[in-house]
Symmetry: C2
Subunit: 392 residues, 2 copies
Amino acid sequence: MNDFIYYTPTKVIFGKGSETKVGALIKEQKGTKVLLHYGGGSARRSGLLARIEDSLSEAGIAYTELGGVVPNPRLSLVREGIELCKKENVDFILAVGGGSVIDSAKAIGYGVYHGGDVWDFYNFKRTPEGCLPIGAVLTIAAAGSEMSDSSVITNDETWEKRGVNSNYCRVKFAVMNPELTLTLPAYQTACGCADILMHTMERYFNHGDNMELTDGIAEALMRTVIKNAKILVKEPENYNARAEVMWAGSLSHNGLTGCGTDGGDWATHKFEHEIGAMFDVAHGAGLTAIWGSWARYVCDARLDRFVKFAENVLGIAPRADAAETARAGIEAMEDFYREIGMPVSLTELGIAPTDAQIEKLADQCVASTRDNLGKVRHLAKEDMIAIYQAAR
Amino acid sequence: MNDFIYYTPTKVIFGKGSETKVGALIKEQKGTKVLLHYGGGSARRSGLLARIEDSLSEAGIAYTELGGVVPNPRLSLVREGIELCKKENVDFILAVGGGSVIDSAKAIGYGVYHGGDVWDFYNFKRTPEGCLPIGAVLTIAAAGSEMSDSSVITNDETWEKRGVNSNYCRVKFAVMNPELTLTLPAYQTACGCADILMHTMERYFNHGDNMELTDGIAEALMRTVIKNAKILVKEPENYNARAEVMWAGSLSHNGLTGCGTDGGDWATHKFEHEIGAMFDVAHGAGLTAIWGSWARYVCDARLDRFVKFAENVLGIAPRADAAETARAGIEAMEDFYREIGMPVSLTELGIAPTDAQIEKLADQCVASTRDNLGKVRHLAKEDMIAIYQAAR
């Protein structure tokens, strides 16, 4: 078992109508001037922003607004947000949306706190030493950014997609009302479930001497998401299923499912990050399109964990040969992805990278990880190319 | 599913040698003058206090000391600690020990912050509005006080044992080195495992419409503790087993295993609190001595959860009749308690309360809960008497 640090200071307010508490929550955090940061117009049309604005006004908190965050959030909008915060003396950022909006808020928070070029933090040139305080009203269960130390931004000049991790950007409070997700389209719901599962699977598949308790928690989380993702295909307005998935999303990426491990593999995420930067696909769908190919390529290096996954998460009965059990588990996972409408190949994802493009994707993976990708099995450039090609 | 707030700001530093980091951790918290608070002489004899003092000195942090905390920590020592902190201008308390020491530190923290009589907080007269910051070096896996919002103190004038809960007393950091627990006596180890299990069982047995994810996490935690408690009977120096139990202890009482429930039952804890105040027994042993009698008395009111517990935690195969499955689960739990050397009756606990004493215990339960004890089933005074008597 590895030593670990566990730090999840985010106060979670979970339940119906919880978004009306944001004014009081920001006051508790001593915020006086807020940047209300969000994505498209749905938060406005649904009345959510109006409810939040009312709550801020009731608490006597001034605010300015910046909408327009897109999936794979853009550096250019982050820069705009930083200038706006400086101009308006903003001392608290309220992110209303999913992971993209929260990640964008974190990047703005870094930029306002430090000055200089914020992209430096995403490009290994500087390490964060602080961040403007951030709160979140979550509208999509997926990225887990509401409790994570992570922020991923796409540079829309170079089309690089890069992440930075630090405790400074941990959200002060996260308001989670599952009702806000009842009307999410089926595809977005499924993408979110895929992302949540992958956050736990990336940690579960590792090369360490694991902690049983962490494994047991991770397996319970994965079983819960698989079961409720299937329910949501048929009953998108099932509150309890939405709530199970939403809470799983936070626990999948706040560190809990990695305690005592070697940190996890994260190769599938890296493969998807590069695909996402080149083709701008939905993150969750990019993950499911590549995972099976990665899993088949590496599973012999950690057969015991793939067998455990097959049996404890997917209910596969043990086969005569452990490798068979492991492969049955991978197939069952792909069957599940298909059942919720997720792609299990790049073709199904709707992209057809050329050999030259695959080589470039692999080059980017090598460069951005300093040739240090994969824990279940280290992956060199030729392994990456083989996995991308197998995923076609 | 119930709405909930989840707030666990404690930074956990888990692993070998982690106690040497306390100086740096207190500096991070801006502490300048520390009260080093501990129990008996074992922390001194083992060299632990010397390593901690070295770490404080290296970080340039001054400290004063107060040892002598006993199980069921006493109000008189809390009062002494409050005076000492005021006299020495202490701005940070470092608790080195288990739940008793941490609970005592929390009480001192309340007292220093507020002034006035600290017992007021334990006696419903005042509500905490702050607390001196506290850090912990955990030496016993049991009470979970290192991540909980709870502090339980015994008034050694009236022999009342009372608890107060607030987020203000949440420990800023918890240093958890399982090595520090390798030499714990078998009885203390087993008492700790019993306490950890009960913190999750009290939440698991409730009357709400539960969250599957919370149930799955709770069941994984209980299975892990049961398995590793048995290992520790034979291999007390098994590091991994100690680590599993230690981490389970924190997660069992930081709120995680109660998310989405109605708050849980807590009757067994209350019964034990009154026994502990009257007879000064070990907390974990007091819990196992009474639990089976409580469970048999109330299980028909929530048969579904007792069946789930039997099947998912104890591996009981479903019987023809659900009540039979539930009872088989209760018996299997008692068998487990016996296997690790814990009592399953008051006689085995070594006490023989008279009828008059049992009536007094029940009166205390009614008074200190304002006649509001039990979620699986509300327990009136006559129910309490019946359960105490059945536990003889």
